[in-house]
Symmetry: C2
């Protein structure tokens, strides 16, 4: 499903729940859905402002809350300079966080489910989601300075 298709789907679901479709909301949704770089709220806000200057940070926050509720965005890493969000792959998956440049990459090709399942079995927890973040230095930063 591409970004525009998802956008239409989400807007439809919002309407069904009695929510409205304002230009700000659409712009914010589009910015989130198309962002592949795990942006902060601040970053989304700035992107939206480029195309649609009449938007406030508060509205972006309110929209994130909505998207989180709908499961269309996940929050990752509550660390430096604010939480970051992933609406591009809203299913839980590993992230690789570069402590040098702050960039966040998606961890791909490794199945985490077995570990999650094992922990769940061991603990009698009813696990609903997980977060796996690896911290380190990305290839680019390694090349730059050893």
């Amino acid at each position: 499903m591409d970004t525009e298709e998802r956008l239409r789907d989400i807007l439809q679901r919002l309407q069904k729940d009695g929510h409205r479709m304002t230009p700000q909301r659409v712009a914010i949704l589009r910015a989130f859905l198309s962002a592949q770089d795990h942006p902060t709220v601040e970053q989304v806000y700035r992107r939206v402002c480029r195309d649609f200057p009449m938007t406030s940070l508060a509205t972006v926050y309110k929209t994130v809350a909505l998207l989180k509720e709908m499961g269309e965005v996940i929050e990752i890493s509550g660390d430096l300079q604010g939480s970051r969000y992933d609406a591009f792959h809203p299913e839980p998956h590993p992230h690789l966080i570069c402590t040098r440049c702050g960039q966040i990459y998606d961890g791909e090709g490794v199945d985490v489910q077995p570990v999650v399942a094992a922990l769940q079995a061991q603990s009698a927890f009813q696990v609903s989601t997980y977060r796996l973040d690896l911290y380190g230095v990305c290839a680019a930063c390694q090349a730059q300075s050893g």
Copy 2:
């Protein structure tokens, strides 16, 4: 190594680095080292105050920073009501976070290293640490309300 032994070891290392050993610091260290429940800074502060009322929150924060630097404490879950800390098992390990009662349990008996290693290999990252948090409902809360 038990708590008191670790305490002595840490104090020794602090002194070697030109740091001092004040009653507050010792009390805070002891509270952190003996806490098995992943407390917040606020909780540690309250515990220290019981035995040693002349302590400020700022000092607890400063001491956490010191302990983090020394690798004697790890920060887990920057979620609701402040970061929580684990000085009892300061090596990275999975945590099971109950979204109902807020309790944090240690995930035991499952080796996460292979997954971390696989992700590291795949990504050309130089991974230094990781964080694996599972969110769900603990056994106690399940029993309580389905």
